[in-house]
Symmetry: C2
DNA sequence: GGGGGCACGCAATAATCTTGCGTCCGAAGG
DNA sequence: CCTTCGGACGCAAGATTATTGCGTGCCCCC
């Protein structure tokens, strides 16, 4: 799939505010509402546009504890990695999980309500996991920016 | 603001898929469409619900390079921290930025198109920055999960 | 026992989305 | 150089969805 200037502008806008009407989007980029809609449908069917979600304000949600956890596994076999990934993905509070290169194998962002729940999850995901060699937790003092924005050019 | 069972279910659903109709949401939680809408408006005006966004599929967007960067500043004065934060937030490719506790001061997630752009940004944000003491980059091999989901209970 | 506030459902209205149709433009081929 | 084809567009009608006014019921507090 190839993007023109209008596609870039649309995708940019949609990633920032997907609640605008098709007509408003159209006025921004110089298209009719129906043309905008057809483009959006194209993004969808091409798999570029995955979904629409509501974003909560972490600061306004009671007692949210955000933490970034770095993890190294004991053994590098892909079976062990899969098992660990499965364990992570089964937990909704695992907000983000990345398989990374470098000194650590995984970066995990945990979003929990209250420190007690955080500890409980850390226990389950990292202490009790059979193949976690080492992990370190960095608690988020201030979420300067959160989001899923991806550039398209 | 205090949440009941229905609020939790609604906020959960909206964070996963905000494109459902008010009627569909209402059927899920046992409310009419208008009652659902009024609740959503309440979340908005309480500041709990920040915005609606479209989420792109990183795997389907050409040449996306995701990287997690850990940063420590030279000096701890709040002026230096603010300056660094400003510099981060001015860059759209800074997808996420967290001020954290522990061995590092900041965790930054960079989303760029192509390695060249990544290097350029790393240069600007970390090498050229006046008060960055040390930083390390972990490239994302596989984004197992991305998102902004926050639990509400 | 009697307000008062708040959330609800229903129904009418308003806004937005969706789709059929005719047109235009550019690329490919005669 | 002309013709044809495919793709994207705008417009407008129709369908769906969101919004809002109104009346009712519930619960808390007086």
């Amino acid at each position: 799939m190839t993007f023109d200037e209008i596609d870039h502008r649309l995708l940019d806008t949609l990633q920032r505010d997907a609640s605008r009407t098709l007509q408003a989007l159209g006025e921004d980029v110089g298209l009719s509402a129906s043309a905008v809609q057809r483009r959006i449908n194209r993004y969808r069917s091409a798999g570029v546009l995955a979904r629409h979600v509501a974003v909560l304000e972490a600061r306004r949600t009671a007692d949210i504890v955000l933490a970034v956890v770095l993890v190294t596994l004991e053994r590098e076999s892909s079976g062990h990695h899969d098992a660990f990934a499965q364990r992570l993905l089964a937990v909704p509070e695992v907000q983000q999980a990345y398989d990374v290169s470098g000194d650590w194998d995984y970066v995990v962002v945990l979003a929990t309500i209250g420190m007690a729940r955080h500890s409980e999850l850390a226990q389950h995901l990292f202490k009790d996991a059979p193949n976690v060699k080492r992990y370190t937790t960095m608690f988020v003092l201030d979420p300067l920016r959160t989001g899923t924005y991806l550039p398209t050019r």
